[in-house]
């Protein structure tokens, strides 16, 4: 906490230029018109004794000065090919089958699977620019066809759950300070498939309805080097502090031939909320090739979709066409 306070103080007292090229959160600004951006990024964390990894490729395009569209595809070893056997289990009492959830075993190796595609559209509807400053607002919409056996209630459109979402981004930038607040909702669609039978029998028809969520992210950033811009060849070093938060509802599980509602006991499937802190370091080579690294830890509550620390690495470049 003390470390965070120190970093915040650094932001406020900084005499350097602010940066809004946040590694994790989207600013209200857009990709320049007619420009193609390519971003490759990954996420890694240790779960018990193995590493869970995600690799994603994003194409970004500036349709107009106000409208950008992103398409992202990802693979990860986060998910079992079908829902795990311990998501919900059952006992037989006479003629009755009683279903209940258990604690899902962590650290189970899963193969790398293609998660699906995510489309994100951002429209900047407000701009108030000054010399070395701006206040901007944008609205975004997102839709995903990800269809994997995600076994926690928390929805993430990029790689865990299909569905859609929308939100608002507000970015304020004044020489010494950059702040961006990003809030929105996520409406996930259910995973309709099968779960492995805990007793080794036939796969059990299962439906997992994920909780709807509200996200709230706050980012700060500033330029460490160079102190004064001279040319495009100066490597830029930026530091960031990003806070990612989400509140989500409890999941609903239906299982068995008759799709019986299963009572939820595990925190992985109960509603919750959290805020995580991601300090980040970024370098931009030749004013175009952007490399960023962030490390996430829990601040208030916690997310159950990953373990901590979470390492995020991204590399991004713009292609301007004929130069």
């Amino acid at each position: 906490m003390k470390r965070i306070a120190t970093i915040l103080f650094l932001f406020i007292s900084s005499y350097l230029n602010a940066q809004e090229l946040f590694p994790l959160n989207e600013p209200a600004s857009n990709v320049p018109k007619g420009t193609l951006g390519v971003r490759a990024f990954g996420e890694s964390y240790k779960e018990v004794s193995l590493y869970r990894n995600l690799f994603a490729l994003r194409l970004m395009y500036g349709i107009s000065s106000r409208l950008s569209v992103y398409a992202t595809a990802s693979i990860s070893n986060h998910h079992s090919p079908i829902l795990p056997p311990d998501l919900a289990t059952h006992t037989h009492t006479g003629n009755q089958t009683v279903y209940f959830t258990t604690s899902i075993k962590r650290g189970v190796p899963y193969p790398y699977l293609y998660n699906g595609d995510d489309v994100y559209v951002k429209y900047r509807f407000l701009s108030s620019d000054g010399q070395n400053s701006h206040f901007r607002m944008a609205a975004y919409g997102e839709a995903s066809n990800v269809n994997v056996a995600h076994d926690e209630t928390e929805p993430t459109l990029l790689d865990d759950t299909k569905g859609y979402g929308a939100g608002i981004i507000t970015t304020y930038l004044k020489k010494h300070l950059a702040i961006s607040f990003n809030t929105g909702f996520i409406i996930p669609l259910a995973y309709d498939g099968y779960a492995a039978d805990p007793y080794g029998g036939a796969e059990v028809p299962s439906k997992l309805v994920y909780g709807r969520a509200v996200s709230y992210n706050l980012s700060f950033g500033y330029l460490l080097f160079p102190r004064h811009y001279k040319n495009y060849n100066q490597t830029n070093w930026n530091i960031y502090m990003e806070f990612l938060g989400k509140s989500y509802e409890q999941a609903k599980i239906y299982q068995g031939p008759e799709m019986v509602s299963v009572p939820i006991q595990t925190p992985l499937l109960k509603g919750g909320s959290y805020i995580e802190a991601y300090p980040g370091l970024q370098c931009i080579i030749k004013s175009n090739l952007r490399i960023d690294l962030s490390v996430g830890s829990k601040l208030i509550g916690q997310s159950y979709v990953h373990f901590y620390p979470v390492y995020m690495l991204g590399i991004q470049r713009y292609f301007f066409g004929r130069e």
Binding site: A18, P32, K33, G62, D129, Q131, N132
Partner: protein, 168 residues
Amino acid sequence: MKKALFVALLCCLSSFLTNAQITEVELGVNGLTCSQCSRSVEMRIRKLSFVKDVQMNLEHTDAKIFFKDKQNIDIDKIAQAVVDAGFSVRYLQATFTFNHVSVSPNSCFSYDRNNYRIVKGEPTVLNGSTTLKFVGDEFLPRKEAKKWLPYMKNTCAGSPGKTYYVTM
């Protein structure tokens, strides 16, 4: 008297006989805070077919633009390139080459297929390399542009192109 009329007519005509090309444009860009953003602006401007070179001052966020010879220089496209990159124009001024052109506030002159109306400045004779500042929504921040609206009601005749409003 006849001589005086002839001189006045010549003076008037000379204001419509300037066909030289704009030699340089300097513009300030608002909203820029990173060299990557400046680069985006520069790349958008460089894409314009009549642009020869762009010199971007990253610290002061302004650009000097130089042109290829014998090209149709479109000032609107330059301003639009800044907007397309996601930023806005703080100011835009262009360097003209004049040959004894008499101007006064509210007077017009033609230059390289376009018309220009002087909205502010003392009556003078423009000669040689002269820089004029553009006014209007595309070339100034919104608040500043508003101040010039009362001066921008009348267009100019003379050339088939559009009318730009400039100050000295």
